[in-house]
Symmetry: C2
Subunit: 256 residues, 2 copies
């Protein structure tokens, strides 16, 4: 396996997410999936249904990252402008897709109408992404994957393409938690542990609980032995500071 680090960006396209009407869940799902594939999700943007904004974001991100995944705005209504905007971003004609058109004509039969058939339009030369839920396809142009916003469909579309994605080393992670030390009680020592383990990244995530804070310490890296070594030092650190250390895998307390 090469040491190349593969990177990705997710663009969520939709006024309804920005207005607070809809809680996005696609970013979280794609983050987990990409991490498991050895692809690093480096950025997400949530942008409105405005052509210029979509064009700018797509062109910036497709140049910067190996993969761009968009969700939202590929339905049949007047406010679904993603597909046409992607065509504009690539400077390609927006036209009936030669495979999608007969597929949707057959699928809808007598129910085919102008609006539904608009979902067979893509940038010229796009490859289709299968939609096993409701047929109207997503599509891919170069490194940009255009998917639906409805979470069940977005997931099904991603499932269909993920075997074709190239990833690098998969980052593994282990979590050591403590419920009786706050970040401020362990931060100095934690910084020293991080310095002693430069091949892993240690993230510290506080959480509120009754009576104070706890902390999840998440160790990430591509070498399980190095992760385990850092976790052993974190456990010793927590215990030396008088806290109980909890293993994120077993949820059990680690004995001293």
């Amino acid at each position: 396996m090469s040491d190349k680090i593969y990177t990705a960006c997710v663009l969520v396209i939709g006024n309804e997410v920005l207005s607070g009407r809809t809680q996005d869940v696609n970013i979280n799902h794609l983050g987990k999936e990409l991490t498991a594939l050895g692809i690093r999700l480096m950025e997400c943007r949530i942008i409105p249904d405005i052509e210029g904004e979509i064009v700018d974001a797509v062109n910036h991100c497709r140049a910067k990252y190996d993969y761009v995944f968009t969700t939202g705005g590929i339905g049949s209504t007047h406010d679904d402008i993603t597909a046409k905007s992607i065509a504009k971003a690539f400077g390609r004609e927006f036209c009936m897709h030669p495979v999608a058109e007969p597929m949707l004509l057959k699928h809808y039969g007598e129910r085919a109408n102008v609006a539904r058939m608009r979902m067979a339009m893509t940038p010229k030369g796009a490859e289709l992404i299968d939609n096993p839920v409701s047929r109207a396809p997503g599509f891919k142009v170069e490194n940009v994957y255009v998917m639906a916003g409805v979470p069940l469909i977005a997931r099904a579309m991603f499932d269909g393409v993920k075997a074709s994605l190239k990833g690098g080393k998969v980052l593994a992670s282990r979590t050591i938690s403590t419920t009786d030390l706050s970040e401020g009680m362990l931060a100095d020592e934690l910084s020293a542990v991080q310095d002693q383990h430069p091949n892993v990244d240690i993230g510290s995530y506080p959480f509120l609980k009754l009576g104070g804070f706890g902390v999840n310490l998440v160790v990430r890296g591509d070498d399980p032995a190095k992760i385990d070594a850092a976790c052993a030092d974190l456990i010793a650190m927590v215990q030396a500071l008088g806290g109980h250390a909890i293993d994120g895998d077993t949820k059990g307390e680690v004995p001293k």
Copy 2:
């Protein structure tokens, strides 16, 4: 009230959101709050804990939008680099804040240590944002509001600043739903209703249900009478297409 449209951007700073470890909920909360204040959330970005990425995103967004709200990365541990990165973005010295320092010294008392006191450091000249939950403050530099990532604290910080935010006309919205028509069955007619009501924005949001799709049609605008007029036409449209129209406010079916 002026007709100026006030805009905002949210920057979520945190590897844990990108990796899928954490489901962000701050964007959705801020989206609702800003909408209610007459401020349009135009963009959100989720970016990693990397100084250069934070600096670039902050500088781009603070020039483009009236307000920028960041969440995450202002704790006491080595991976909390937001405050220092914001100082760099503004070209300001990163130093002990003259109000935050004595406040945290008093709050922590004997528990004050280097790590905790680092949470009293801000870009020079920053105004503090109160943290009623756990004291360590957020801060504001010009139009950039730097808040915690822990949702309870982020909310409390935003509650503390929102009275000082200027908004424009508040967009109101009404929703008309149908569970027996899909987007493809009403898209052509919907487009005509949108054309007849240019002063409102009609968004169409499909949802999956057993046996097919339903649609939420959300009408947004700054004039309740125009929203109601568009909704009346949407109800008539749904019923003319043979569907049942449901009022989003009452959840009841609208009689023919």
